[in-house]
């Protein structure tokens, strides 16, 4: 697909959607956040407000509470929110996608509408202290009992906002002997189930987004398993590829706003700017606009019928490059963030440091590109 012309333009119905959404936002602006309201609680209110207007789950079929449109429609909504500097649609798209693909009809009808509306708040229990990049090496074990239920023991890490969530999409081994890729299964775990302990973990930026999840003899029913036993690995891979899709997250327009801020600050201080800083800002602008072009290319490729695959690792590395360089530059333009109280830019800077780790480290992305895009051979010594 790299040697024939592509159409980078927005389809007409996207323009209409954008227009409708803008109009809706005028009447339904971002609510005020009281000083003592935790961020996730505030974001949850925003989620419900967006859902009331029909702006969540646009790409989910109507019978499951969505609008039966495409991923591009959802991206357009995220993009509009980002461009206004307001929080985006909660990142549940990849969970919804996992349920759509692997859940039973009954599970989809029961779980998806409540997920989209915010009636259920979800988190993700994949990584473990001993299984980060090597996710297949997880040791949380769901032992099947003759009566049909499972007893789960183990520990999960990086389950974002588990303390505010009701349900967790949990991966656990259902067979200790079989190879990892056929022995992992997926469950829907209600976090109020006996034996579940949630402990928040403070992140480097000071937020308590991450959590540890301890599972001690937790009972799960067979009906709480998503898909068949052993479906967990393919589900995780699909989910991670979706999560990795940096271009679907509405981050882009947020970068754009910060870059224009940097440019204006540099313009006001021209003549007194440290050597090279103007070039750094120019480079951030290039990174950002290349990312926009790249996102549009991916969109055009999808519209032309190409499905998402390992090239999402390229997207993730480009997003990481843009985000990390942007916030490094922002701290140089606004050094008072470092010797003052430390504002939003410093917080976002720390978050950007995680960009090369979450959703698969940059090294894992390079492995995927080398093996799956370039077809390079495996190391025989390993």
């Amino acid at each position: 697909m790299t040697d024939t012309p592509l159409d980078f333009g927005d389809p007409e119905d996207l323009e209409r959607l954008r227009h409708d959404f803008r109009a809706w936002l005028v009447d339904h602006p971002l609510p005020e956040r009281p000083a003592d309201e935790p961020l996730p609680v505030f974001l949850h209110r925003w989620h419900r407000q967006l859902h009331s207007g029909g702006w969540v789950g646009l790409d989910v079929p109507e019978q499951y509470g969505g609008r039966g449109l495409t991923a591009l429609h959802q991206v357009t909504v995220s993009d509009e929110l980002g461009a206004r500097g307001v929080p985006g649609v909660p990142r549940i798209g990849y969970l919804a996608h996992a349920l759509l693909r692997f859940g039973s009809e009954e599970q989809r009808r029961r779980l998806l509408p409540r997920m989209l509306s915010g009636d259920d708040v979800w988190c993700q229990g994949f990584s473990e202290p001993g299984a980060g990049s090597d996710l297949a090496g997880m040791s949380t074990y769901a032992e099947r009992h003759p009566e049909g239920h499972y007893i789960v023991n183990g520990q999960k890490l990086w389950t974002s906002y588990a303390q505010y969530s009701g349900l967790c999409l949990l991966l656990a081994r259902t067979d200790r002997a079989a190879p990892a890729h056929t022995s992992i299964s997926t469950f829907v775990l209600p976090l109020d189930r006996p034996g579940v302990t949630v402990r928040p973990l403070r992140a480097a930026n000071g937020d308590d987004e991450f959590c540890e999840l301890f599972l001690d003899d937790v009972r799960l029913e067979e009906s709480e398993r998503i898909g068949a036993e052993g479906d967990g690995w393919p589900l995780a891979m699909t989910t991670v590829a979706y999560e990795r899709n940096a271009l679907d997250t509405g981050h882009l327009s947020k970068y754009g706003l910060l870059i224009e801020r940097l440019r204006r600050a540099a313009h006001e201080r021209r003549g007194t700017l440290p050597d090279g800083l103007l070039s750094d800002i120019g480079r951030c602008a290039v990174d950002y606009q290349v990312l926009v072009a790249h996102a549009r290319r991916r969109t055009a490729e999808r519209l032309a019928g190409q499905s998402a695959g390992p090239e999402s690792s390229v997207d993730k590395l480009l997003m990481t490059r843009a985000e990390q360089r942007l916030y490094e530059t922002a701290l140089k333009v606004f050094p008072e963030e470092l010797y003052g109280e430390g504002g939003e830019v410093l917080g976002d800077y720390f978050y950007a440091r995680a960009a090369s780790v979450y959703g698969g480290t940059s090294q894992i992305q390079r492995n995927i590109i080398a093996k799956r895009l370039l077809g390079l051979p495996a190391d025989r010594r390993a």
Partner: protein
């Protein structure tokens, strides 16, 4: 063009490029250059952008430039088939004073190859194989025609460059909008050729990494080599997206937006195409450091290409300015 028609043209160019590619620096001779240019001229590509509306979109031209860049070629596709005809077409829409005397113009650039500042000196006819005259766009949009002189030295051993006469005959003037379109178009076409070179050379180094054995296995199985090639791949994809999008903007957006997108594309390509070729050369190892190997032909092309029309420093300064002040 219809899709089938474009595919046909692209495949003709691809077949030509495979046949006339330079195998090694010593193969670059006056006779082989002339033969190759004649064969390219026989494809009849000078009409792609000569008429209004043009027969080919900018994106199609960018793809052809990319295709041409994939092989080490001495031929002038850019100067004589894609750039000069478009310049004449843009002049037709503006103020056209006099006809061009030459049959086969290419473009003239300032001696440092950048878009000229008002007192540019030492003009050269750039990408001039097959050309008999050169058109120069002055900083304020005036266009003049210049005679070709002696060959001029350039680090790019493939690119034909000759001195151009200091005095030129007036041909016309680009309107401000046409001038921006011209700059955007030239940036996109030049950047696209470099994208083709980088993509092709990285691809060759990936093939080599699969074959070349050390320590009893292909070097492409070592993670250090894999990661270097993965990074080069990311850079090539970034260049591709940026150049292709900028080309589409010229077809579909205002000249201002197209010029910004084209500047972004050239800035990305200036650094990333060179970086990607470095990675490929490192994977080829010792053999890529020889005169015979094509590696330095690719490096020379992207290295000089990165200074053509607009350098990284030129572009980053402009792109760092707030949108309102530009």
């Amino acid at each position: 063009m219809e899709r089938d028609e474009f595919t046909l043209v692209r495949d003709m160019l691809r077949a030509f490029a495979t046949r006339f590619r330079t195998g090694s620096a010593d193969d670059v001779k006056a006779q082989t250059r002339a033969d190759a240019q004649r064969a390219l001229d026989d494809l009849g590509l000078t009409g792609l952008r000569r008429t209004s509306p043009p027969a080919a979109t900018v994106q199609e031209c960018a793809l052809l430039a990319e295709e041409h860049g994939r092989q080490p070629l001495t031929t002038s596709l850019l100067g004589t088939a894609l750039l000069a005809p478009e310049l004449l077409r843009l002049l037709d829409d503006g103020e056209r004073a006099d006809p061009v005397h030459g049959d086969r113009p290419t473009v003239a650039l300032a001696g440092d190859l950048r878009f000229p500042d008002p007192d540019a000196v030492g003009l050269v006819a750039w990408d001039c194989d097959g050309a008999d005259t050169a058109l120069f766009v002055h900083a304020e949009g005036r266009v003049t025609e210049h005679e070709l002189g002696a060959p001029a030295p350039t680090a790019d051993l493939l690119r034909g460059v000759r001195r151009a006469s200091a005095e030129g005959r007036p041909v016309g003037r680009l309107t401000p909008g046409a001038h921006r379109s011209w700059q955007a178009y030239a940036l996109v076409v030049v950047a696209s050729e470099l994208v083709g070179a980088a993509r092709s050379f990285v691809g060759q180094s990936v093939d080599y990494a699969r074959e070349r054995q050390q320590y009893g296995q292909p070097i492409g199985s070592f993670q250090a080599v894999q990661h270097q090639l993965a990074d080069a791949t990311v850079l090539v994809e970034a260049c591709t997206s940026a150049a292709r999008y900028a080309a589409w903007c010229l077809d579909s957006e205002t000249p201002d937006r197209a010029l910004t997108a084209a500047r972004v594309a050239k800035a990305e390509v200036n650094s990333s195409a060179v970086e990607a070729v470095y990675a490929g050369m490192q994977v080829f190892g010792g053999i890529a450091q020889t005169w015979e190997h094509v590696a330095h032909l690719y490096l020379r092309r992207v290295l000089v290409g990165a200074t053509a029309l607009a350098t990284t420093a030129d572009l980053l300064t402009v792109l760092a300015a707030p949108e309102a002040t530009r």
